[in-house]
Amino acid sequence: MALYSEKVMDHFLHPRNVGVIEDANAIGEVGNAKCGDIMKMYLKIKDDIVEDVKFETFGCGSAIASSSMATEMIKGKPLSEVRTLTNKAVTEALDGLPAHKIHCSVLAEEAIKSALEDYENRKNAGNQ
């Protein structure tokens, strides 16, 4: 038996949406290097829709795969939908993760939440 599902390996070996968005208007970063996982999400939001999303991840195979899958799941989606994305949905989309790797999918959910928070903060700052 392999360590990871085929889906996880596919997203790990061929990660989608890797990179940086220079003019992102929502950036979220979670995790820390001490624990061995850092995820950074760059979102370009327009008219309450995630027009584009890219990620950078320092972490294990499942962290990279979770980031990749999460970006696919939110790209082109309205914020109302993006806000409801859970780590469980990411894990399921990956056909499961080993028990001790579930936290990687949690990081993906948190990275998106953190980016949305950044978006709200920027908006509020702009309105002031």
Binding site: L3, M9, A33, G36, I38, A63
Partner: protein, 395 residues
């Protein structure tokens, strides 16, 4: 392309060992404890294996006890010396911070039973200092246990000097020599070793078998009670095919040891030189006092598990001390013990070369590791911050 570069984890079975085991299973199925001929023939085979193994480490055959492997041997040696010490009111044990868990967890258990344990500093180069062993000795010290060579970073410890210190102070000395038996020449007499643990599958023998050398006269208690096998120190019918395979594998390894050590050291040093070309990388452990086949590196800005998976995709089997490969949140205790901070220890890679590896393998590994490290750094937020100067480089 398939390159096995994880010989510290386990080794491929030697053909000589497979043949010896197959023959043993066919021809010597008798129980060595039975008095009739086929039992006694099996007994002879068992004792021949014991003699062959004893001679490799300059021991007497009656000082060799067969076990299920290195972990059992470690447990038995440490527990025996500790309990004998306790009876004399001695409850202090000296060890090191980067022992194998078979030793560290046994010591943890003994702490709950009233023992005090001093773990010596292993320093940045991963080599302990005999004078620090001497300084840590107390009147109530009953045991010093120091590994012969470290399983992750390959550093070879000054066993002869530590043995001399222990002998001078009449303290029992155990060494976990799981990584050393086979590649290194060991003389338990000259090195004043009282107990030594070894594992067969590290030197091309079968898994599930090993041995404990216990100098005659030292305390030895059984972990497994039952029949009178192994002079009452290890009950249970002997794993004869395993023992015979272990002896055959060891004889073969020792016969080619000197030439193999020279060859592997050459490959190792070429691999180290090649990987050093990767910016912000560092070799773990002393460059010279290390096992012939061991190469251990840390690469800043990347994580070890993803590195291993990508190397596996390129046909290279290696290992890492990252948290994600250990199943815990902390990276390897060995890397932390030599002073690597968490951030860097997560990006570790261990390549251990052995019998089948060639110079071509080494060149392929160098180029594959370079590619993979640079690919992973390409989308690592940690690397971005290091490069932009937001956080300072450690390596």
């Amino acid at each position: 392309m398939s390159i096995y570069a994880d010989h510290a984890a386990t080794t491929a079975m030697s053909e000589a060992a497979i043949e010896a085991m197959t023959r043993c299973m066919r021809e010597y199925y008798g129980n060595p404890s039975s008095l009739y001929r086929i039992g006694q023939q099996a007994k002879e085979v068992l004792e021949q294996a014991r003699e062959d193994i004893a001679s490799v480490i300059h021991a007497e055959s009656r000082e060799i006890y067969f076990t299920s492997g290195g972990s059992e041997a470690d447990n038995q040696a440490i527990r025996s010396a500790a309990l004998a010490g306790k009876k004399k009111g001695k409850n202090h044990i000296i060890s090191t911070a980067f022992e194998h868990h078979a030793v560290l967890h046994t010591l943890e258990q003994l702490k709950t039973e009233g023992f005090e344990v001093t773990l010596l500093d292993v320093h940045e180069n991963g080599v302990i200092r005999p004078e620090e062993v001497e300084a840590a000795l107390r009147p109530e010290t009953c045991l010093v246990t120091v590994m012969y060579a470290n399983n992750e970073i390959g550093t070879i410890q000054p066993i002869r000097e530590i043995g001399a210190v222990c002998r001078a102070h009449q303290v029992l000395f155990h060494t976990d020599a799981v990584q050393a038996v086979g590649p290194l020449s060991i003389d338990v007499q000259a090195e004043n070793i009282d107990y030594l643990s070894a594992s067969s599958h590290k030197f091309h023998g079968p898994k599930g078998v090993g041995f404990l050398y216990a100098r005659k006269g030292v305390p030895l208690l059984p972990l497994i009670n039952g029949g009178a096998q192994e002079k009452g120190k290890r009950a249970g019918t002997e794993n004869l095919p395993g023992i015979v395979g272990m002896a055959a594998a060891l004889k073969e390894t020792v016969a080619e040891r000197d030439a193999e050590a020279v060859r592997l050291t050459g490959l190792r040093d070429r691999l180290i030189a090649g990987l050093k070309e990767i910016p912000h990388s560092a070799l773990n452990g002393d460059a010279e006092k290390r096992l012939p086949g061991n190469v251990s590196f840390c690469f800043e800005g990347i994580e070890g598990e993803s590195l291993l998976l990508l190397l596996d995709e390129k046909g290279i089997s290696a290992s890492s001390g990252s948290a994600c490969t250990s199943g815990s949140l902390d990276p390897s205790h060995v890397l932390l013990a030599i002073g690597r901070v968490h951030d860097v220890a997560h990006g570790s890679l261990r390549l251990t070369l052995g019998r089948e590896n060639t110079p071509e393998d080494v060149e392929y590994i160098i180029s594959a590791v370079k590619d993979v490290v640079s690919y992973l750094r390409g989308f690592s937020p940690v690397w971005r911050d290091l490069q932009s100067g937001k956080t300072p480089f450690i390596l």
